[in-house]
Structures are given as C-alpha cells and as structure tokens.
Symmetry: C2
Subunit: 212 residues, 2 copies
C-alpha cells in the first residue's frame, strides 16, 4: 500500500492530477446531457457527475464547471430551464465521448458525433435517439460551491422514456439489459454486469437474503 | 418505449418510487464511509452518492438525508471534521451492504458486519481494512438543498491509500484491478470490466484513438 497525500496530489502534473482525483471516487454514471439554446442551436455533452438526489419529488443533480468548460450546456439550461439526460450504452461510447471535443458554440455535437437529435412530445430540449433511457429534466435550483467555484445543478424529472422490458415490478430499472456503461478517470468506459441484489436488510439478517 | 411522467412517479408506492428514481441516474459509486464520534463510537455506512467535485484542490462530495436516515455519519463528521471513504470490492459486498441495517447508535457497524476497523497514522476516523482504496477526508462545507432538505457535503482529500500496482503513470487508478463494484437502485451491486479508454479528443479526431 502506498500513500498519496494532499501535497503529493497538488504536486502532480495537471493531467495526472485530473486522472487521479477523477478515479478515486469510484465508478461514475455515464450520461449525455442534451440542450438547445433559445436561438435554436442544439448541444450535447458527456457528463459523469449525474447523481440521484431524492425520490419524492424525483430529483437528479450534477456538477458543472462553467468557468472551465465551454458554457453551452449551462447557458442553455438557464435560458430554457430544460435539458435531457440520456444513458450511454456500450455500442456508442465512442460517439458519446467525441462530444467532449471542444467544438465551437454554433456547432451541434449531435451532427459532429453522428448521434440522432430526437424530440419527444413538446419538450424543448433534444434527446439522443440511440439512447434507450432518456429523461426530460426541469431545472430547479443551483448552488455555487464556494471552495472551487463549481455549480451543483438540481433538477426535477418531468418524464422518463424507457423500454418496457427494463422496468421491473419493484420499480427497479434494469440497466444491465440496455448495456449501460460507467466511467472512471477522464475517459475510461466500462461494461457492467450483475453481481448481487439483496433484500431489505434488518439487524440480525446476516448472511443477507439474495434477491436472485 | 414507455413513458413514466412526474405524476406517474409520485403515484408509485414508496419502494417502487425509491427503486425507480435510484436506478435512473445510471450506475453509482459504491463506498463505505467510516466515522467515529467524539465519545469514541465508530460508525460505518454504505453510500452510493460519492462524486468527484474537483481536482485542484482535490475534492469529493456526497449527498446525505439527515432527516431520514440515522444521523450518526453526519453527526460524527460535524463533531470531528473527519471521515474515511473506502471502496467496496466484489468479495465483501454482502458485509458492506449489511451496514445499511438500522443498528442502534451505540453499536459499531464494523463489529456487526465483521469488517476490520483500521487506523492509519493519526487520522481520527476509522478505515475499512478489507478495502484496498481508502481515502482520508476533511470536511470543508455543506449545502442545504432547499427543494428536498438533503445535504450536499463537500470535503477535501487529505490522503489516499492504495496498492502501488493500481496507480498508472498517467495518474489513473485502475479500479478494475481491485474489483471495485458499482450500485444501481437501492441494493443492486454490479461487477465492472474495462470496455474502452480514449485519448484526449479534439474536433476532427473521429474515429477516436483508443488508449489500449
């Protein structure tokens, strides 16, 4: 076992530090966030920071660095209040990751990455046609994180679109069935397989009851 | 493709809603957070909301629901300013998950789950001996998320302890090597395997260069 202290991390070159700290929280969700400016330019960007914030009301959240990355996603969300979250599957990780290239603001990453710009109902923001799990989100509030000037964006689920086969009776969505991936570090994509599912746990219930 | 609207989600029974919304952000990190009260009672709890917040300074963050779950982890962090984050591997998911049973405050989940309470250097909070990637964290600040009264806890990395073999030259930590797992819904654990790693992407670089 080796130790890397705070000082060691600060002394790493920039890329190593980004890779190291981006690895160390564990595996991250892999999503494409779709937006469209008021002027009508669509935008698509890969995010690995989308998390569950609460179920009632149904809320998701993610972290942005508007001072560092191009601001298109953030600007569009604040202009329109709408964005989509689209799961990334094994068969289009390369196209999804290509959206992280620094394209000019007037360019749509949908076209560049050859991903299908899809509209559902009257929701303003575009979805990714190739994604089997798509979520329509309404912006709620943002928090400026003082210590490093990032933004924590909080939004409510307006609708979820998903294959009927993935929705289990207990409410779970089977992410393995649609080959969802996860991310580590800056650009490592991983495939995921079921390992164990447990029943609700009470003190004294050990060994645990496995669900399947 | 089916649709579940906000109203549909609110109309689900509580467990289905928890499962559904906890699935829909994608795969989640799997960590045990270790703390110890001023009075000396250690605590260990599984968290699936730990995320990367920034690399310079090195910051991680996670979501808590202090009004809902037992407050031991939160109380201990606020009393002492210290906690540990310990990655969960395939070989102890059952013990890790057992910490989610509602034990009384005076009971240590380390003992209940038969996980090794380990101390490193003079860091106040306990680590998990079975975990190969352990992080010593210093509390920095918290944000009360108004819409659902959760807390977003921001903390800085003091030290990372990890096997030398997992640390690559470019700073990445190989999470596959130590059999890190990820989580979906409330109690689904998954194993993870490498799929693709890409080089830094610039406009025009498509197809992408694969790193390995």
């Amino acid at each position: 076992m080796i130790e890397r202290t705070n000082a060691d991390i600060l002394n790493m070159d920039k890329i190593s530090r980004l890779n190291f700290v981006n690895s160390i929280s564990g595996y991250k969700s892999a999503n494409l966030i779709g937006t469209k400016s008021k002027a009508g330019v669509s935008n698509l960007a890969v995010f690995s920071s989308v998390i569950h914030l609460g179920s009632n009301p149904p809320l998701l959240a993610f972290v942005m660095r508007p001072a560092v990355v191009p601001r298109d996603t953030y600007q569009n969300i604040r202009e329109t209040g709408k964005f989509s979250i689209n799961h990334i599957h094994e068969d289009f990780v390369d196209k999804a990751h290509y959206t992280s290239a620094k394209f000019e603001s007037y360019i749509s990453e949908f076209q560049m990455a050859k991903l299908t710009e899809e509209y559902l109902g009257d929701f303003y923001a575009p979805f990714v046609g190739e994604s089997k799990i798509k979520i329509a989100m309404n912006f709620i509030e943002e928090y400026n994180i003082k210590v490093n000037n990032t933004l924590f964006i909080v939004a409510e689920i307006q609708s979820v679109f998903l294959p009927e086969t993935t929705l289990k009776k207990n409410g779970e969505v089977n992410l393995n069935e649609v080959n969802d991936v996860c991310i580590s570090a800056l650009y490592n994509y991983h495939k995921v397989e079921p390992l164990a599912a447990f029943d609700y746990v009470r003190p004294g219930n050990f060994p645990l009851n496995k669900l399947k």
